[in-house]
C-alpha cells in the first residue's frame, strides 16, 4: 500500500472513531449511572447487555477495527519518523501488523464469546 493511502486511511479511521467511539462513550457514560453500566448484568446498558445486543456488538467490533488500525499506524508513523531505512521500516511494519492482528483476534474473540453467553 502506498504511504499516501495509509495516511488517507489514517484520517478516515480517525473520523470513524469520532463517531463510533462517540456511541461507545455514550452508552457507558450518558445512559445512566456509570457504575450501573459497568456492572456485568442488570439494566439495558450493562456490560453483558451491550455484548448481547447485535447492533452494539457490531459497533464494538467496528470500533476495534478502526482503533486497531489508527493506533498502530500512528505508532508506525512515529517510529519511521525517528529513523529511516529499509530494514527498520520493514521491521516496524511487520511487528506492528502482527501486533495489530493479535489485538484484533483477541478483541473479536471477546465480542463473539460474550455475545454467545446465555443469560
Amino acid at each position: 500500500m502506498r504511504e499516501s493511502s495509509k495516511m488517507l486511511l489514517h484520517y478516515v479511521t480517525g473520523l470513524g472513531i469520532v463517531i463510533v467511539g462517540g456511541v461507545h462513550l455514550f452508552t457507558v457514560f450518558l445512559t445512566g449511572p456509570y457504575l450501573q453500566n459497568l456492572a456485568f448484568i442488570g439494566g439495558a446498558y450493562s456490560v453483558i447487555a451491550i455484548y448481547k445486543n447485535v447492533i452494539f456488538a457490531v459497533t464494538l467490533e467496528l470500533l476495534l477495527v478502526l482503533v486497531d488500525y489508527h493506533a498502530l499506524n500512528g505508532i508506525r508513523v512515529i517510529l519511521i519518523e525517528f529513523h529511516q531505512g529499509k530494514t527498520w521500516e520493514r521491521g516496524v511494519s511487520w511487528i506492528l501488523t502482527i501486533t495489530g492482528l493479535l489485538l484484533l483476534i483477541y478483541g473479536t474473540r471477546t465480542i463473539l464469546i460474550a455475545n454467545a453467553i446465555v443469560i
Binding site: F29, F40, I41, G74, I75, G107, T110
Partner: protein
C-alpha cells in the same frame, strides 16, 4: 542518516520533552504524538481488560453467565481504585485533545484552513498556523480540560 539508531531515537524522543523555543504549532504536534501514545497504551490495556468479560485468555468456550460475571466483577473491583481512576482522567484529557486537534489536522490535510502563503518575517510566527487553526487548538485544550473535569465528577464525585 549515518547516525547510529540509538542516539537518533534518543534525540527524537527527548526532542518532544524539551520544548525549548517551541512555537504553538510545535506544541500542538508534540501533544498530538504524546496523547496518541497514551491513548494507544489505554487501548492495549482496554482490550486485555475487556477480555475478562468472558473470563480472560484461558477460557476458550462459552462460559456460564455466573462464571463470566464473577471474573468481570473481580476485574472491575481490582481496577476501581483512585490510581486507575486518576489514570482514566488523564486518558480522558488525552482522548479529548487528540480528537479535536485530530479534526484540525484532518481539515488541514485536505487543504482547509491553510491561509495564503506569505513571506516569513521576523519573529517568524508560523504563518501556516492560521487564526482558525489557533482557535481549534485552544478549543481542544479547553475541551480536554472540560473532559478531565467531567471525568473527575464521574470517578470521584467531586
Amino acid at each position: 542518516m549515518t547516525e547510529p539508531l540509538t542516539s537518533e531515537l534518543r534525540k527524537a524522543i527527548t526532542g518532544w520533552f524539551i520544548p525549548h523555543r517551541y512555537n504553538i504549532e510545535r506544541w500542538a504536534y508534540a501533544l498530538q504524538r504524546i496523547t496518541g501514545i497514551g491513548v494507544t497504551a489505554y487501548f492495549l490495556a482496554h482490550i486485555a481488560e475487556t477480555g475478562n468479560v468472558v473470563g480472560g485468555l484461558s477460557v476458550w468456550n462459552t462460559p456460564s453467565v455466573g462464571f463470566a460475571r464473577d471474573i468481570w466483577t473481580a476485574t472491575f473491583q481490582f481496577l476501581e481504585n483512585p490510581l486507575f481512576d486518576m489514570g482514566l482522567v488523564v486518558i480522558g484529557f488525552m482522548l479529548a485533545y487528540h480528537t479535536i486537534n485530530g479534526i484540525r489536522l484532518t481539515l488541514t490535510e485536505f487543504g482547509l484552513l491553510q491561509g495564503k502563503p506569505s513571506r516569513p518575517d521576523f519573529p517568524y510566527e508560523p504563518k501556516s498556523f492560521t487564526k482558525s487553526q489557533r482557535a481549534i487548538f485552544w478549543f481542544s485544550i479547553l475541551f480536554a480540560t472540560a473532559t478531565a473535569i467531567y471525568a473527575m465528577t464521574v470517578f470521584f464525585g467531586v
